[in-house]
Symmetry: C3
C-alpha cells in the first residue's frame, strides 16, 4: 500500500482504510431526544445505511437498513415492543437482528433469517453505535460531562468531508477571520493567536496564545472528537463535538454542551437558551450555497443573525470543495496542529494496514479545555 | 449468455434482453383524453425517447424524438393535419415519418429524409404503440372491457423498476401489511391470505384464500399486465393495468377500470367518482420520498387521505431501492407467484436469446378476476 | 490526431483543442455594472473556475478560484484596495496574484506564494479577461460602438453548448419558424430568407434575402462574436454578442447594444427601455424546461410575453440536447453558413493542433450589419 493510502482520511466507506479505523470507535448517530419510543428512522453513516429505532421500552437499536425478504427499507415499518416489523410483509426482527415472525410463512423459516445489528447505547443525550467488526470496546465515558449542571445537545449537517471540519477545529487562527464579523460570541478572543500544541494521551492538546497573552486550550480526541470551551447564553461551558461522516462529501456534527449551573442559575440559563432562535440545516445550507455561487455575500449577513457563525464555518469549510485534494495545500507555521493531526492519522492508518498495534487513546482528567477569554 | 442475463428483467433499454422481449408487445404510452387533437408531447418508454402527437383528425401517432435536420425536439413543433412540423426550420413529417416539406430547401430533398414511426392505436381510452422491430402483431383486445358500462382511465408514475410493481401485484400478502391502515378500500379482505396459483394461457392465475375461506382471484398477463377486481365508488369492477418502464429506475402504470353499470346507476357512479379528490404524481412522490428519508412516517397519514394507498405502495416498492439486485432476496412459500413469474420470464428471455419460439400468450374468456370480498 | 478532433467544437475545458483556441481570444466574463467596487464573485468559464473582483479603485481583476493555503474559495473574502484577502486565514493577494500578507505566518512566507492572475479590462460596459497562455494580445476595439449614442448591456444563461447558439445565429431561417409567433420584434422580416455568405476578414458575412427582395446582413466574428442589427424600443441599432461557454453544456451570452441616439431622442429611448419588463435566467429556463418536458407548449405563451423570444430560442437550442453529436445532422442548402462556420473552425483547430499559423482575424470598418427591414 502506498504512502498515499495512509493520508486518505476523507474516504470512509466500507473497506476504506480511514473507514476501517473510524469504525473501531463508537460514533454518535442521533440526538436521543429526536427519537421517541416506537419510532424508526433511516440513518447513513460513513456511506452505509442503517435503521435506527427506539423500542417501546425506550432502548435504542441500530440494525440493517433492509428486510432480508425482498429488501424493503425497515425504517418504514412498525416498532412492536423492542422489535421491528417490516412494512411490506410483516417480517419481524428482534433487537439482535434475529427474525422472530413471518406472518405468511411456516414457523420453521424465521429462525433461519437474521439481519445485522450493532451495539447501541444512549449517553449524554446522544445515541452511540458501534459499527465496526468484532466485539465492541466499552463506550468511552466523560465523567466531567456527567456532573450536576445543564446539558444541551445539538447537531448540524455540513456538505463537505468531516475531516475539513476537524482540521478547522485544530486551527483556531480561522476565528480571527471567518468569525471576525460576529464579535459577541467570541468576546475577549481578540487578534490572531500564536498556535502551539502536541500529541496527548487522548489525541492533541492545542494552545492559542493571543496578543494580549491570554491562552486558550482546546483538546482533540482521536479520531474525531473535540473538547472546547464555548460560551452559550452568556456562560462559559464545555462542549464535546463529534464530526461523523455521512458519506465522503457530507458529515454531521453531534455535540453535547455542559454548563456548570444548578438551581436558579440553571433555570435562568435554560430560559435564555430556550429564547434563542435556532436554525435548521436546510436554511444554513441554502445561505451557504448562495454565498458560494456568488449570489449573496457573507459580509452582508446581519451581525446578530443567529445563523451567522454556522454560515461562516459553512463557507470556509465547504468553500474548500466538498472533498479536497490536500496535496495542493501550502501549509505554514500556523498550521502546526493540522500537521500533527495528519501525521497521527497517517501513522495510525499505516499501523492498521500493516496489522501493527494501534495507539490506545485514553482521556485522563487533566486534559481540560479553557476559554482564554 | 450467462444464466444471469435471463434473470435481468429490470434493464429494458434498447438492446437489452428484457427490453427486446417487452418491445414485442403493444404498450400503452398515454391516456387518450390527455392528448387533445393538434397537440404533441415527448414521451420516454424503456429508456427511449419518442414524440407522441394527435393529428387534427384525431388520430394519435408516435414518431422519432428529434428532427433529422439539426436534432430539435419534435414535440415542440406544430401539428398540421396529420403531420408534424419542426419548431426550428419548419421541416414537416407525415405520420409515417416521411419528410414532406422543407421550406428553405429544394423540393428534391424531403423525399430523401425519413424519421422512425411506430404503429399507434387508441383503445379503451389508452394510446397504445408498438415499439418493436418488424411488423406489429394485432393489438390485443379485451372484449369484456368493451361492454356497456363505465370506463375510467388512470396513470401514475413510480420511481422504481416496473418489475417491482409487477411483483407487488403477484403478491397480495402485502395488502395485509402495506395497506393495513387503509381499511375501507379493502373492506372484506381481512387477514393474511394463503397464496396459490399457476401458469395460465395468458400468464399467471393467482388465488388468495383468506382465513375466512373466501378466495380472491387475480390474473396476470405476460409480460406486464394485471387484471384484478377493485372497488371504486363503492362498486366492484374490473381493472386492467400495465406497468410500463420509463427507464430502468422509474415506470408508469396505465389502467382502465370497468364498472358494469348503465343508466341511472352509471350516472350516480360517475357523480361519486367525480367528487373523489385525485392527487398527482408529484404530490405522491414528495410524500413517499419524505417517508423514505425519515422525515415523515407513513403511519401518520390520515386513514381517509386520498393518497394513502398510492403512498403506501410507493413506500413498499421504492423502499426496496429503485433498481434491486434480486439475488439478495430470501423468498418463502408465500412468494410462490413471484417465483413462478421469475421462472416464466427467465424461460422466455432464454428462448429469445437462443432464437427459439416464444410462448404465444392468449387470454381466453374463462380467465376472470374475482373480488374475494 | 484524427479528423474528428478538429470538428469537436463543443468541448472547451482545459487542454481541449477548441478550448485552447477560444482561450487565444479575450472573452467577456461579466457585465461591468453588475460588479460594484469592493465586490468579488466566483465565475466559471470554459469549465474552469476563477475569482472576479473589482478593487476599491474600480479596476476589475480575475485571479485563481482558491487560496493557495488550504483551498478556500477566494470570492468569499474581502477586497482591500486592489487586493483580495482570503476568508479563512486572511492571506492577502494583490492583483497580480502575488501573496502580500499572511497574518499568522512569518514575513518570509508570502513572497514565496503566488496564485494565477489574468489580464482583465473593462470595455463597452463588459469585463473582458484573457484566460489563455502567454502574453495577451491587445483587447479588440469596436470604434463604431464607442460613438455618441446609447449603450445597453445584457446577458443570459442558456443550458446548452455555446456552439449551438452560434450556429443558431448563422442560421436566420430559424426566425421564420422559431419566432413566427412573436411578430412585432421582427416586423418587416417576413418570409423564409434565401441565405448566402462567405468567409470575411473577421469571420463570416451572412446575407439573407427575403421574398420581398430586401437583404439583411449579419456579421460573425471568429471565434464566437455576432454583430447584427436589432430593434429595441422601436429603434434599429447594432448589437455585439459573445457566446461564452460556462462548461460544455451551458453558456452565457454577453452583449452590448448601441442605439445611435443623442439628446432628447436618447432620453426618450432610455425611458422606453427602462419601462420594458426584463426577465431573469431562472424564469426563462423554468419555462423552457417545462416546454421540453411537455408540461407546457411554447405555442401557448402570450404574443406579448416579454420572455417570448428568449424562450423560443431556448426551446430551439436546448431542444437539440445540451451537447449534440453533430454527425447525425442532415444539412441542406439553407445551412450554407453553418457549413462555412464548421469548415473555418475545423481548419483553425487543425492548424492549432499541427502548430501552423492561425488566421489573424481583423474587423475592418466596412463590415456592417443591416436590418433588412
Amino acid at each position: 500500500m502506498s504512502r498515499d493510502a495512509y493520508t486518505d482520511f476523507a474516504h470512509t466507506g466500507p473497506g476504506t482504510l480511514a473507514g476501517r479505523y473510524l469504525r473501531r470507535f463508537w460514533q454518535p448517530v442521533a440526538i436521543a431526544a429526536d427519537l421517541p419510543p416506537g419510532h424508526a428512522r433511516p440513518i447513513r453513516v460513513m456511506s452505509e445505511d442503517f435503521t435506527l429505532y427506539r423500542g417501546e421500552d425506550g432502548q435504542p437499536h441500530v440494525v440493517a437498513p433492509r428486510c432480508a425478504h425482498r429488501g424493503t427499507q425497515l425504517s418504514t415499518g412498525w416498532v412492536e415492543g423492542d422489535c421491528l416489523r417490516c412494512f411490506y410483509h410483516g417480517w419481524k426482527y428482534d433487537a439482535s437482528g434475529q427474525c422472530v415472525e413471518m406472518p405468511a410463512e411456516d414457523a420453521s423459516f424465521p429462525p433461519k433469517v437474521r439481519i445485522a445489528s450493532y451495539p447501541t447505547e444512549e449517553y449524554l443525550g446522544l445515541v452511540f453505535a458501534y459499527l465496526g467488526e468484532g466485539a465492541a470496546p466499552p463506550l468511552p465515558r466523560y465523567p466531567d460531562f456527567e456532573a450536576d449542571g445543564v446539558r444541551e445537545n445539538s447537531t448540524y449537517l455540513r456538505s463537505c468531508s468531516y475531516f475539513q471540519n476537524i482540521e478547522n477545529a485544530l486551527d483556531p487562527v480561522h476565528t480571527a477571520f471567518v468569525h471576525r464579523e460576529s464579535g459577541t460570541n467570541f468576546e475577549g478572543l481578540v487578534g490572531v493567536p500564536r498556535m502551539d500544541g502536541e500529541e496527548s494521551p487522548w489525541g492533541i492538546e492545542m494552545r492559542g496564545t493571543r496578543p494580549n497573552g491570554k491562552v486558550r486550550v482546546n483538546q482533540f480526541g482521536m479520531p474525531n472528537v473535540l473538547h472546547l470551551a464555548l460560551r452559550f447564553g452568556g456562560v462559559w461551558g464545555d462542549t464535546l463535538a463529534w464530526r461523523v461522516p455521512i458519506d465522503d462529501e457530507q458529515h454531521r456534527s453531534f455535540s453535547v454542551h455542559f454548563a456548570p449551573l444548578t438551581g436558579q442559575a440553571a433555570d435562568d440559563y435554560r430560559a435564555r437558551r430556550a429564547a434563542t432562535p435556532r436554525s435548521d440545516d436546510a436554511a444554513i445550507a441554502a445561505i451557504g450555497e448562495a454565498i458560494l455561487r456568488g449570489e449573496r455575500r457573507v459580509q452582508d449577513l446581519a451581525p446578530d443573525d443567529p445563523d451567522l457563525i454556522n454560515v461562516q464555518d459553512y463557507v470556509a469549510q465547504v468553500g474548500q470543495g466538498r472533498l479536497v485534494d490536500r496535496a495542493q495545500d501550502r501549509l505554514g507555521r500556523s498550521d502546526v496542529l493540522v500537521i500533527i493531526l495528519r501525521r497521527i492519522w497517517a501513522r495510525e492508518l499505516q499501523a492498521l494496514a500493516e496489522g501493527r498495534p494501534l495507539t490506545a487513546w485514553t482521556r485522563p482528567p487533566g486534559l481540560i479545555a479553557t476559554s482564554g477569554a
